[in-house]
Assembly symmetry: C2
Homo-oligomer: 336 residues x 2
């Protein structure tokens, strides 16, 4: 590697002391303007850049946000998180922040990893994803005083008025409501809902949108339940269509279930049977299935706003107080 | 945050000087064994961890590898790269290395970003992806002497005997050969190839596998060309099947084209028409289409081996010399 210019090179070129160069970089207000301009010119001419490790020690800030990457588990649902990491990297870069990845297979491993990175001064904050009831990570982070934002609500608490921590999430009920309203106007009033077994915060939230939109339209339809599996949904919906109940379309809790439903309908010679999914994944796009788009780019923007303020360049998280401590992104229906 | 133990705390607990603690951490060989054991015990008892920024300054190493995340562009092909980043993060973590992401929209932006990170001592090496003919990044990295490995061949040069740089890639021809041999035994000798327009290194490499396997079996079939688009492939194959040429199956250059072909066949009432894709993406899995799996986990292992040796924990790239400077991963056909 070609030798990089040092602070000594800058001092020599500008005809000042090493300390003066350091002052220009760290406390420019105390340096006479003509001197400062000369030093800044030398910095520009030489292409000098302060070593980040030195800056980290001096400022006690790493300007780095840690984020966990789940092990790849197959299936299609990881796409939203991957898009979120992409968007977070882009937006964080615009604010001079770095994104550092870490791997962990369990919450316990993730806690150990976060502790190691935080103790070593390698990260100033973390973003956690996939929050769940009784999540040990959020309690640990709060106790350690490590700034963090969750992509995902603190399910089971009073998320909005007394949020346990800063969070950004997608308004699943609003998404399914939009999907249901679309199918009501397109297909008719007898819309089924194909959901996951009760008890998952995300699934229950999405189902609520269907319940509300159907009630508002004085419509009704059956509710079916299925695991998150294209094959199971295909078999279930195949049986439903063969039995011939009188339904006009199916609102699905996920793209996996919507794809299964669409494939079953196609096999039954009804390729145009109205189905809507959730997550707007590449397979839904490829099959021409309408779906609710989570807008991961807006989630990423919300995370940085909670951590750094609307336009800040250092970590200064908002206090987790009523109303001010969350961002709820309204998803968008993509009609195909 | 609870106050972390410092080197002074360790020195006090072990009854030694600060310098001795530093020696135990950085040059343990020069410390008497009984003293070293006492200091190590104090480090363990207190849970002391050296500040990474200080270690970075001292060692002039960041223990960090940079990798570019492309902006999310939709479609299904990004999945392989995302899986690669997942695997790289896991395996790098096992070797004590960090993965830092950066965003850039053009090769020029990527070069500027790599320069900034390298100048600031923030990364010890980079991994670049999506290499292409005349790629300016590889030349720039070589000139700057920044250790790097490419996921992707230096297309157009003598990649194996005189490689321009270290690289890991997937043997596309071997993948398509396996796919073709499978369809030959399953479906019959008249196999078409559905590929991209000539001129892309990846596409031409994959087509070669079909050519070779067909020649070895004394078989022949037509070659069709299409852009990387589910819709275009669907329309094209729909027309082909309607015209009724005598083909037993289609080997496709990508999952997008295989999905389009499969959908066209399903619409024509031939849902079991043999089709094989490439990349083993979630949509292919969801539709039950056989596909060639790139094994991104092996690519990640290959990248680290070229950068760090078989089991090293510091960047020590192999020299880019004949034969020794690449890892070619043989992909695996996933039959569905």
């Amino acid at each position: 590697m070609s030798k990089l210019p040092t602070v000594e090179d800058v001092a020599l070129a500008a005809g000042v002391s090493r300390q003066t160069v350091s002052n220009v970089i760290n406390s420019p207000a105390i340096v006479r303007e003509s001197t400062r301009e000369r030093v800044e010119q030398a910095i520009a001419d030489l292409g000098y850049r302060p070593h980040m490790a030195a800056r980290r020690l001096r400022t006690q800030r790493s300007s780095t946000i840690g984020i966990h990457l789940d092990p790849y588990a197959g299936g299609i649902s990881g796409v939203v998180l991957d898009r979120f990491v992409h968007a977070l990297t882009e937006r964080a870069g615009e604010r001079g922040m770095r994104i550092q990845l870490y791997a962990a297979r369990t919450p316990t491993e993730e806690i150990a990893k976060m502790g190691e990175l935080s103790d070593g001064g390698e990260i100033d904050a973390v973003v956690i994803t996939g929050t769940f009831h009784g999540d040990p990570r959020t309690r640990w982070l709060a106790e350690r005083g490590i700034p963090f934002v969750a992509f995902g609500r603190p399910w089971g608490d009073d998320d909005v008025e007394a949020p346990a921590h800063l969070w950004v999430d997608v308004d699943g009920a609003a998404g399914t409501r939009a999907a249901t309203e679309h199918l009501l106007s397109l297909a008719g009033p007898r819309l089924a809902f194909l959901g996951w077994p009760s008890g998952s915060g995300t699934g229950d939230d999405r189902e609520r949108g269907w319940v509300e939109a159907m009630a508002a339209a004085d419509a009704s339809g059956p509710r079916y339940v299925c695991e998150e599996s294209v094959g199971q949904a295909r078999a279930l919906v195949g049986g439903i269509l063969a039995a011939g109940p009188d339904i006009d379309g199916i609102v699905c809790v996920s793209d996996s279930l919507a794809i299964g439903a669409h494939l079953a309908a196609t096999e039954a010679g009804r390729g145009d049977f109205p189905v809507v999914g959730f997550d707007n994944t590449p397979p839904a796009e490829a099959l021409g299935i309408s779906s609710v788009e989570q807008l991961p780019e807006q989630v990423a923007a919300g995370v940085l706003e909670l951590l750094m303020g609307p336009s800040g360049s250092v970590i200064a998280p908002r206090r987790a107080e009523a109303g001010a401590a969350h961002v709820l992104v309204t998803p968008r229906l993509v009609v195909r």
